[in-house]
């Protein structure tokens, strides 16, 4: 079965500093990989996704992530963090769905809470 590990439960950075959130996955086939962001009391917003092709993926809000198959990693990066980036970040792997077609279902990591200091 697929799984996702986010080693850092909580990260604090200063506004303007660079950011890297770690994600490691376990999946037997080529994975679909995602990063979602969740503000308190809100749903999940997709930041970026990797399905195939270029291993460096650009997302919204200035985020990017790099897929490294040899390390089973999909780390999220941002060169300069803004106070509005404070939120919880979830990495997810998409595995084949149930009967009926080629949809997939997401397994999430436990999340990393990002705090941004002024």
């Amino acid at each position: 079965a697929q799984s996702v590990t986010q080693p850092d439960i909580h990260i604090t950075v200063s506004e303007g500093a660079s950011l890297e959130l770690r994600c490691n996955y376990s999946y037997g086939a080529t994975p679909y990989l995602f990063w979602y962001v969740q503000s308190p009391g809100q749903g999940l917003q997709l930041l970026l996704k990797y399905f195939s092709g270029d291993t460096l993926v650009q997302g919204i809000k200035g985020f990017e992530a790099e897929f490294k198959r040899s390390q089973s990693s999909f780390n999220l990066r941002k060169p300069s963090v803004h106070w509005s980036d404070a939120a919880e970040y979830f990495c997810a792997v998409g595995a084949a769905g149930g009967s009926g077609g080629s949809n997939y279902k997401l397994t999430f990591g436990k999340g990393t809470l990002l705090t941004v200091n002024p």
């Binding site: 769905g97 149930g98 009967s99």
Partner: protein
Amino acid sequence: DAMVIQNPRYQVTQFGKPVTLSCSQTLNHNVMYWYQQKSSQAPKLLFHYYDKDFNNEADTPDNFQSRRPNTSFCFLDIRSPGLGDAAMYLCATTRGGGGSGNTIYFGEGSWLTVV
């Protein structure tokens, strides 16, 4: 405009009293999911529909049921809520099929409190 709409956003129910959460989508997606997210935890998939085909996760309790009367709507029924069922319930949709590199879109969630 919101594409995946969940109602109600906040629901308080009594221990053991059945409750229904609803989800509607304007995307005409054929796949709909229900996730449970407890405080400070990762979302956990309960089940999903591919068209009318229901796919239950192996560890989803029988207390949780779902209905999908048409493409646009999906309901989560909790037959006898316990204190441990207090959580945010997230609905999500995607277009399945065709090699499917499609995004999964989430609603804003429904917060359930059990008293």
